[in-house]
Symmetry: C2
Subunit: 172 residues, 2 copies
Amino acid sequence: MRDVNDPSHASIPPSGIPPGAGSTAADTSFLESLVGYNARRAALAIIAQVLPELQPYDLRVVEFSVLTVVAHNPGITSRQVCAALDILPPNLVGLLRKLEQRGLIHKRAHPSDRRAQGLYVTDAGAQVQRAAQHAVAAVEQRALPHLSAAERATLIALLRRVYQGSGAGTTR
Amino acid sequence: MRDVNDPSHASIPPSGIPPGAGSTAADTSFLESLVGYNARRAALAIIAQVLPELQPYDLRVVEFSVLTVVAHNPGITSRQVCAALDILPPNLVGLLRKLEQRGLIHKRAHPSDRRAQGLYVTDAGAQVQRAAQHAVAAVEQRALPHLSAAERATLIALLRRVYQGSGAGTTR
DNA sequence: TATTGTTATACTCTATAACTATA
DNA sequence: TATAGTTATAGAGTATAACAATA
């Protein structure tokens, strides 16, 4: 394999790339043949666009996910949130505390299990969640301008088969 | 919306889930309608299966990616690796140092730019990379048993359009 | 004996500022 | 003035062990 930066082989064809040592594009063909690599790159690219949309609500992606699950599942327990979002219990504690201190969620005694607590959104929490959900849905549309609705549906269906087929959630 | 854990509405139909407070499945329908959410879950599920395959070679996922790019692009510079894999330069330094100390890669003076250094795999590095690449390719096959070759190709093509269409690599 | 929620803690990953040598 | 490589450091994100209260 030839050195990518050896000038003795340069400019066939002449690529209109600016000067500097790091100019030519690297070969990543093997990595690009992997579903895992492409899924990770795609996820990071979308999340990078979602982040600034959630900033006005002072929510990170995980916090939005937790708030959304609680809003859509009133009375859900911590363990159920952990199972749904693949979050470890110790890491959820701080998230819930922060959301509760902001007055977005609150806890009530569980009707049948005195160890557990039911989680609920407050009125303010429901408002914030609705607005943030609209913003997230809108930015996904904008982030994927080249995908038709059918292609998006196909993509999502294939991705779900990837992580539902394998043992998702077993390793943490 | 009804409380998910309110026993007064329980068991219609009776779900065969074991006892405890966190038993019923939570509604995550909105999150599951997002490409970003599904891509992240899929990526994490696959990476969780790739990790143990790389353990015999004492490589983490990022380290394998760097080693692979260097192996396939002899003489590549640090900045080019950063651009190809969307890694920040300060975070690459430690990765390269570790790979160099293990004798898997080495640096040589860049032919035309005295600021830069060309990266190369050693013979040992090339051996490790080849073996690890085979292991990774094999585990991807095993991790996606329900996807045909055509479906895998479709999935990869759609994912690439997601992160190549948006401004991938611009935010970091 | 198992589960819920929790604390404490450690380790990895990612991000920013600032410096030097060179272009 | 800009770029390549580097240091130091800060902040997210993720992981395990262990505990009290309750099932």
